[in-house]
């Protein structure tokens, strides 16, 4: 294990990563077992509905890991990661739309229903190729990756950082939301893409496919986690942390800071795209709502609640907040926004290190507690 692959292997030697992967795989196995082995009436049986719900949480968790990679380790608060998530989702959605074939309401073998409804007579050029799975899967990575590349190149080159970057990422996702709401864009407008039938030949409504999607999401989360961990632990990751804590100083040491920022930003956007692609077949719809600035800010809250710059904290935060959301919106929908708003305030004011900060505090021996590993108040120069 030398040379080129050594950096990828390193995470597996870390205690925390082993623990995380162990718990995740155990959870995946348990859910599978409880879903398949137990009869429907058994109190411990996990229904397919719940499995899909958990799959949705896992795709959110992957998205949160992607955000934590740029926010926690690069100091870039992206308020537009929902855009990358949605782009990946739309790429997958376009493939699923083409898979419907002539089983749509209007029975057109090529055009999706909404295009027939709009009286379009042929597919727009950007829909070409989405009937092939490999092409769609490449686009899941490429579409968000390219957007992040162009946007990041422009932003980091001109050293737009801090609050300014946050605000323009928010403007980016807002502009995309407005664009995707337009019917003329050819992405289904307001209603988005929905009514999917099958993925790679598997019926999306069957229990087996749903369990498979859940497992695939879990594995994608594990792989994404390992990838992020590997990046963070590598020399590149150390430069990133240095950039986060003292950008100008890192620059003066001779590092081309914007290249590191750009690389990590693009990787993060691609991970978000994968999360979106796994999310869409499980919830069965993708619409411009995923581009809304509020959703993007919510993702940041998951990370903040779980604890910045830990990666596993992002997973915990995403699952906790979304579980709470499911419970609240079911029991008392009015209270959810109060709870969410309250969480934002409480976490930032009282729990700057999030839940993982609490855990770490409990688990760390007392003599080591003075160690300044606080990502939320780095020794940052005045850059704004």
């Amino acid at each position: 294990m030398h040379s080129s692959t050594a950096w990828l292997a390193r995470p597996f030697r870390e205690r925390a990563t082993q623990l995380f992967l162990g718990i995740l795989l155990a959870a995946l196995a348990t859910v599978t077992l409880l879903n398949l082995a137990l009869p429907a009436g058994h109190p411990l049986h996990i229904s397919t509905y719940t499995v899909t719900l958990l799959g949705k949480y896992l795709s959110y968790a992957l998205l949160a890991v992607a955000v934590d990679l740029v926010w926690g380790y690069l100091g870039i608060l992206s308020l537009g990661h929902g855009a990358f998530f949605a782009l990946g989702g739309y790429a997958m959605g376009m493939y699923l739309m083409r898979q419907i074939g002539d089983r749509g309401t209007y029975g057109d073998p090529v055009l999706p229903d909404f295009m027939v409804f709009l009286d379009w007579d042929s597919l727009p050029w950007y829909w070409l190729g989405f009937d092939m799975a490999w092409f769609a899967f490449v686009m899941v990575l490429l579409a968000p990756g390219l957007l992040a590349l162009v946007f990041g190149f422009l932003a980091f080159r001109s050293r737009v950082t801090g609050v300014y970057l946050s605000i323009i990422t928010q403007a980016l996702t807002f502009a995309l939301m407005l664009a995707f709401f337009r019917n003329e864009m050819g992405f289904g407008g307001n209603n988005g893409l929905t009514d999917f039938k099958e993925l790679l030949g598997f019926d999306l409504r069957s229990d087996a496919t749903r369990l498979g999607l859940f497992l695939a999401t879990g594995i994608a989360l594990a792989l994404g986690y390992v990838l992020c961990r590997a990046i963070v632990a590598s020399k590149l990751g150390r430069v990133c942390v240095a950039t986060r804590d003292a950008e100008a100083r890192t620059r003066f040491l001779g590092y081309r800071v914007e290249r590191f920022q750009l690389f990590v930003f693009v990787v993060s956007a691609m991970l978000a795209g994968v999360a979106g692609a796994l999310y869409v077949p499980q919830v069965g719809i993708i619409n411009p709502g995923e581009f809304s600035p509020i959703f993007s800010i919510e993702i940041v809250l998951w990370v903040a609640l779980g604890g910045r710059a830990t990666l596993y904290g992002a997973v915990i935060g995403a699952i906790l907040v979304n579980y709470a959301k499911t419970v609240f919106t079911g029991v008392m929908p009015d209270a959810w926004l109060f709870a969410l708003g309250g969480l934002f305030v409480l976490v930032t004011v009282l729990l700057p290190k999030g839940i993982s900060g609490l855990l770490a505090y409990r688990l760390t021996p007392r003599r080591l507690q003075r160690e300044p590993a606080d990502p939320s108040s780095p020794h940052r120069e005045a850059s704004t």
């Binding site: 932003a155 001109s158 502009a175 664009a179 600035p293 708003g341 969480l343 005045a382 704004t384």
Partner: protein, 532 residues
């Protein structure tokens, strides 16, 4: 004296017909005017209409309108003239044409309609227009003259000229001259083009358009030259209109952003709840109008200080409750205030209603000022534009000329130094934040006159506001003003060919690209203040 039996029977029938009519009806000159209408030929009917117009009878307008609308009938048995009030079903409610007295319902089989043909219809329309031209009020006469444009035919030309000679108001005369000119144009008079030169009225343009396509080359030539001239004028008008709408949109952006320019630009605090402070101002206006029913104007004026106070108090609560604990951590401040914005929105939804509330526009703010026939400015937008400028000027005064402004600038430039000079920095923080928030409240009061007041009101403005502040250059009030107004105008200029949504997207993309080029905005701060 012997009467032949047949004649006698006829006489009896006549008596029978006449008997139900009261004595007064027979004396009524109206009866004599209406009687000839029931003539055998349309030509005779035309004469009868002329007679009615010449009579000057106060009821003639009603008769002619009823005749035009097919509502004037004659009872088959009694010969009485009636107006049908509603011709639906089998029995129609009718009223006496002479006295206006309601006669209950009559079977439609008993009624004979006084029918007209197209020539008569034209004559009637013209006659009604001429009647309107004799109204007492100037504005009614102008309206009538405007409606005549394009409707003048040979039969009307002569009476119109008489009307023009008698008319006192220059505007009415001008309009009537144009109406006559259109008629002359239609019959091929080249000289008429000169009278229509430069008019922006759509009917004038239509007449010139058809003249430009006519067979007469001299006429066509003159008409197309006049049209080109008019087109030029219209272009200018459209330009002015776009500018006005752009400035109006810009003034809204400035109002929404100017408070942010204080809290974000000067203090460096990212307040994502700024939009909700705007919303609070708008709801204050609504609440004021609920408190003072029937006096929307007074309520609106009172809500200017009230909206400022409510938003400023909310701002102080946010500053004390959240922001003071997050000093020097801008990203966390952003998240926490976003949480506050969610809570405020939900609070309004729960306490008031998730639906939009209606805020009444007082009378002195509704309507519009007409600059010329192609351009009119809506009053409420004009008021908001003025209000935005006043608020801006007031804020400039506070920042430049008051003790508070001096202290704010001192604290933002060098907090430690300011404190050691005896400035109570915490108090200045609170006051500044209250000022910025209060201005957001003022924006809400103004916005309540232009858009729907609902829980999402603020959300729609927060991103735009940040864009304006960043585009203009953080910490620079002038920058905010210029950025807001110019973004508004750019948006309106793009809208006609790109559509509203695409225009907005283009503006956002433009700003995103602009910030890459000049990260510190249009007017970057220089010197020590920039180091903050």
């Amino acid at each position: 004296m012997t009467i032949p039996p047949c004649l006698g029977r006829l006489l009896a029938l006549c008596l029978l017909v006449w008997l139900p009519l009261s004595a007064s009806a027979q004396d009524d000159p109206g009866q004599a005017l209406l009687e000839p209408l029931d003539a055998a030929s349309y030509a005779r009917m035309g004469e009868a209409i002329e007679a009615i117009i010449d009579s000057g009878d106060a009821r003639s307008r009603g008769w002619l309108e009823a005749l035009l609308g097919g509502k004037l009938h004659r009872h088959k048995d009694t010969g009485r003239f009636v107006m049908v009030l509603e011709n639906r079903g089998r029995d129609w409610p009718v009223a006496d044409a002479l006295t206006g007295e309601a006669l209950g319902e009559m079977s439609r089989r008993d009624l004979d309609r006084l029918g007209i043909n197209n020539a008569l219809r034209g004559q009637l329309q013209g006659a009604l227009a001429v009647l309107d031209l004799q109204a007492d009020g100037v504005s009614e006469r102008r309206q009538a003259a405007r409606e005549l444009l394009g409707d003048v035919d040979a039969s009307l030309a002569e009476p119109l000229e008489a009307v023009i000679r008698a008319e006192q108001d220059a505007e009415v005369r001008r309009l009537l001259q144009q109406a006559l000119a259109i008629h002359r144009l239609e019959v091929g008079d080249v000289a008429a083009v000169a009278d229509l030169q430069g008019s922006l009225n759509s009917r004038v343009r239509a007449a010139l358009n058809s003249a430009a396509r006519s067979g007469d080359p001299a006429l066509a030539e003159a008409a197309s030259m006049a049209l080109a001239d008019i087109e030029q004028k219209m272009k200018l008008n459209r330009g002015l209109e776009t500018l006005y709408f752009g400035l109006s949109l810009g003034s809204v952006l400035v109002l929404a952003a100017i408070g942010l320019a204080i809290t974000f630009g000067v203090m460096g605090v990212i307040n994502m709840a700024h939009g909700e402070l705007i919303m609070l101002g708008a709801y204050t206006t609504w609440a004021m109008q609920q408190l003072l029913p029937g006096q929307p104007g007074l309520a609106l004026v009172l809500s200017i200080p009230a909206g400022f106070l409510v938003a400023a108090l909310a701002g102080i609560a946010i500053e004390r409750g959240v922001i003071q604990f997050l000093k020097g951590r801008p990203l966390e401040t952003l998240l926490a205030t976003f949480g506050v914005s969610l809570i405020l929105q939900q609070l309004v939804r729960t306490l008031i209603s998730p639906l939009n509330r209606t805020v009444v526009t007082p009378e002195w703010m509704s309507g519009s000022i007409m600059i010329n026939e192609g351009l009119s400015l809506t009053l409420n937008r004009l008021y908001v534009l003025g209000f935005a400028l006043v608020v801006f000027a007031g804020l400039m005064l506070v920042m430049r000329r008051t003790r508070l402004g001096l202290e704010v600038r001192a604290v933002t430039q060098n907090r430690a130094m300011a404190r050691s000079m005896g400035i109570r920095a915490t108090r200045v923080d609170i006051m500044t934040f209250a000022l910025g928030s209060g201005v957001a409240g003022l924006a809400g009061v103004a916005l309540s006159q232009l858009t729907n007041v609902g829980p999402n009101l603020g959300q729609n403005y927060i991103i735009d506001s940040f864009m304006v502040v960043v585009f203009g250059g953080v910490g620079n009030l002038w920058g905010t003003l210029v950025a807001g107004l110019s973004l508004g105008v750019i948006n309106q200029v793009l809208e006609p060919w790109a559509g509203a949504v695409l225009a907005k997207i283009l503006v956002l993309v433009f700003i995103i690209l602009f910030i890459q080029k000049r990260p510190r905005g249009l007017f970057p701060q220089k010197g020590r203040a920039a180091e903050g």
